[in-house]
Subunit: 565 residues, 2 copies
Amino acid sequence: MEISREQFLQKLPEVEKAIKECDFMAIDTELSGLHRPPTSVRLYNMVDRYQEYKEATERFLIIQFGLCTFTWDEPSGRYTAKPFNFYIFPTSTTGQIQANRVFMTQAQAFDFLTKQGFDFNKWVYQGIPYLTIEEENEFVAAASKKMNDDMPDIPIDDKEVQFVNNARQKITDWINAEKTDEVDGVNITAKNAYQRRLIYQETRKFDGLTAIGMKGFIRVVKLSEKQALDRATEKKKRFEKDRDAAIGFRKVIDLISQSGKTIVGHNMLLDMCHLIGQFIQPLPETLAEFKALAHRLFPKMADTKYMCTAEPELSTFFGADTALESLAFETRKEQFKNPQIDMHSGFSRYLTEMAHEAGYDAYMTGFVYLKLVSYLYKTRSPDKYAAIEAQILAEQEVREREKEKQRQPKVDADGWEISDSEDDQAANESNWDLDEEEVYNYGSIRVDLENRHGSMDNIFSSIINKTALVRTAFDCFDFAGPEVISNQSNTILVKYSDGTAFDKATAEFLFSKHGKFIIEPNDTSSSFVVFENLRDNPLDIILDNKEFTVVPIAHYLEKFNKSLL
Amino acid sequence: MEISREQFLQKLPEVEKAIKECDFMAIDTELSGLHRPPTSVRLYNMVDRYQEYKEATERFLIIQFGLCTFTWDEPSGRYTAKPFNFYIFPTSTTGQIQANRVFMTQAQAFDFLTKQGFDFNKWVYQGIPYLTIEEENEFVAAASKKMNDDMPDIPIDDKEVQFVNNARQKITDWINAEKTDEVDGVNITAKNAYQRRLIYQETRKFDGLTAIGMKGFIRVVKLSEKQALDRATEKKKRFEKDRDAAIGFRKVIDLISQSGKTIVGHNMLLDMCHLIGQFIQPLPETLAEFKALAHRLFPKMADTKYMCTAEPELSTFFGADTALESLAFETRKEQFKNPQIDMHSGFSRYLTEMAHEAGYDAYMTGFVYLKLVSYLYKTRSPDKYAAIEAQILAEQEVREREKEKQRQPKVDADGWEISDSEDDQAANESNWDLDEEEVYNYGSIRVDLENRHGSMDNIFSSIINKTALVRTAFDCFDFAGPEVISNQSNTILVKYSDGTAFDKATAEFLFSKHGKFIIEPNDTSSSFVVFENLRDNPLDIILDNKEFTVVPIAHYLEKFNKSLL
């Protein structure tokens, strides 16, 4: 379902319903540009990588957002997907907002989008705007001031002194005349916003008068108590509508966050950076603050790309090609037939494939996620899985038999079918109505996404809140804690006494002869040194320096893993 | 005429013809954003203003360019307009160019463009790319290297060592077999650009072998001398086509510049900054360098907005509303009937109005320019103008009479019309053919744009190379020299002895009590101080400081103007 700027507030309840009812949801974004252009640098340390992503969120925009909810439908025994596609554009023409947003575009990113048929007119003409929380607060404060006529006076330009004097005279004349006449107000023509503002501020100086903006003029009136109250109520309503329109797409992000449900992405770190930076608040200075913020907002994340590289059963199956489209293709095969996933009948946009539209990519991501989790469960707990499968099949058989029974025509003693219309109707109303007829229970197995039976512990615990991340010392980015180093042939641990400065210069002095490297701090008395392309055997790296000791990574890990037991 | 990316090279000759034949041309641009957002600052000094514009050209892009040529058509006695509209997008998908352009967009600018129905899909999908001169040089250098197989070797990744060894073996096997076999080459499958590059560099190591890139593989062959020559020729042709496609829209700017003809704009300073900065070269550091560069590239410019504010006859007529659309509306009136301007028959796009499309705005600008110049001439030299008008009318009458004569049916001695078909045909072929019938000579007067008769001196000399400029000390920006201060009530001249530091701090100390101001240097011993909103009488500003003297601006100007005589 594609939701345009015009329909947004009207369709929001449908989005809200989908988020509230779902088991989990998947997201995807299209961006106006990626992070820095490719360089020859092969490895980044985590702090630099975060700075790069943070910078990207300050420059580039999410221009399309895909959200797909997945909900288990018990009667049909399958998941139902509701994919939403939103174009996002920071227009200033909605909700009286004065925001003046400037953003960057990478021509290559737009070139890429043309290959997917991206509609740039829909983006600019129909994209949904948004305010971050702070922008909303500013908007509300400014609007309240305006609503309560609490604006500071602005100076009157020399050119406008005569205009203001004339207006003041006109108001005074009317006040004096009013005592005898029955005229209920006076109109003052204003040519531009500046003149309008001047009239408002002059009117304030008269007790009990209200200035009402009309097209091309301002009407100055004396309102009764009831009129004033009605006007205040109407103003407040308009303000609330303006505010909602201005908050715009952030409302969807708020709903996702408030749900506390699992969010699935594919290679989702950059998506999450943009999502938070664009719609919630500018990204914090440090990586640690970012992790804390992201985890608080979205406590459960799962990354299908990370799963396919980190889980041995999956990496064996998929190999190096973990592109989303490849995973979606592979998981349509027989091994992944459970669970069944259908598009909700009201969401027909993606009945034909539309790869790289954010809504469709979100759908594919959630689809793949369900298949992967189920596959892992089946592989790791084949007995339990078989038992559930058998039970489901048995239940299904029972249901089928019951249905069959009811489907038998009722016959009278002589064997004639009873065609009494009342009976037919009763049957229609009970178990034999059209809806149920249409829903054929495939008997697919619900994935225990809440780990209610504890059976998914060995799956979720290793994937939750970890996302794919390449060209760093680590195999993943961990939203919920520090990343763990893996046994790589290009990595050593350097130990030193607490408080020793082990900075880039020191490291260069010690290790530059072995090639380019990055440093990742481990604890106060050790750091990892990860080489871009280490040709020497790491065991051969020995220092004739008493301050620093090299520990082979395998030795360190052995000890580290033992300490976890 | 709208010219898309696909048609660009094909339609370029038509653009070239229009530029070469025309009397002058007008331009207009649409931008992805304007300069800094509006502030409360009311005045800028010229150096700051230039820096602001320079910054804008580094951030924002021309996304649509309008060019309209105007050519006097003697037979019909009127000007013919050819308006071209180009969408401009720095795509990287044309001409093998690897440019990775990042640019900024101001959401408000796009909002503004939606009101004019701007087609953002045409912009991204069909916008014409471009290279600056320096980018072209880089492109040519890189392409030459590639063409001459003069690429530096790249290191072979550990992962690809086997791949390279296999390829080398395959080539060697084929060389050995070739002596006996008749196979003329060997195919090596390459999965990606990196593998392809490796095959090229391996092939180079074999004498007399050539690697030819095919879809999915590389073919390694031994070419005969003729084959090698053909291949080189073909490569060169392809390179030239790629280069032309990559230079793209700059070609049009080059043609405009090379023509040396007058370029007319409306409030054109920002347009010229973008045009030079985007298509020719980044804007130079200083204002003086910019003026020199712009003047060298485009020696004759005229600005319709400036004309309407600076020429008394025009400012009286048009008043404060110098918006392009207003001028176009006003100049359709009777007073401006000369000269007649028609759209060329091949350019039908703007037969209905399309205000704010760059091509149409360029047309309006040139239209207004012709009308204004002609109006000034008529007003300032009524006798000369009347004489030309009379002459034109007389000539027209003569032509009409001649035509009428030919239109008289030939009659024989008895008064019978000769209906000999041969005679009819002869008439058709001479003066009476359809083309001439359609062209009705309105007898409008050609504007002496080249000032051939010296009659336009008093018009062009005051407007040439000056453009409108607000919120500065001066009434205009002058491409060809220093701006001249005008007699404004908010301005004083401060004199000091040569070498005295008259900087912002000193000025603040002396003048801050009179309000906000800017400084414009005049010569080595004086500066103008221009107040934003001076309430005091400038004659009352007196300093009890021996180092600095205040000279009323009127006194200075009196002396200055005398010195010019």
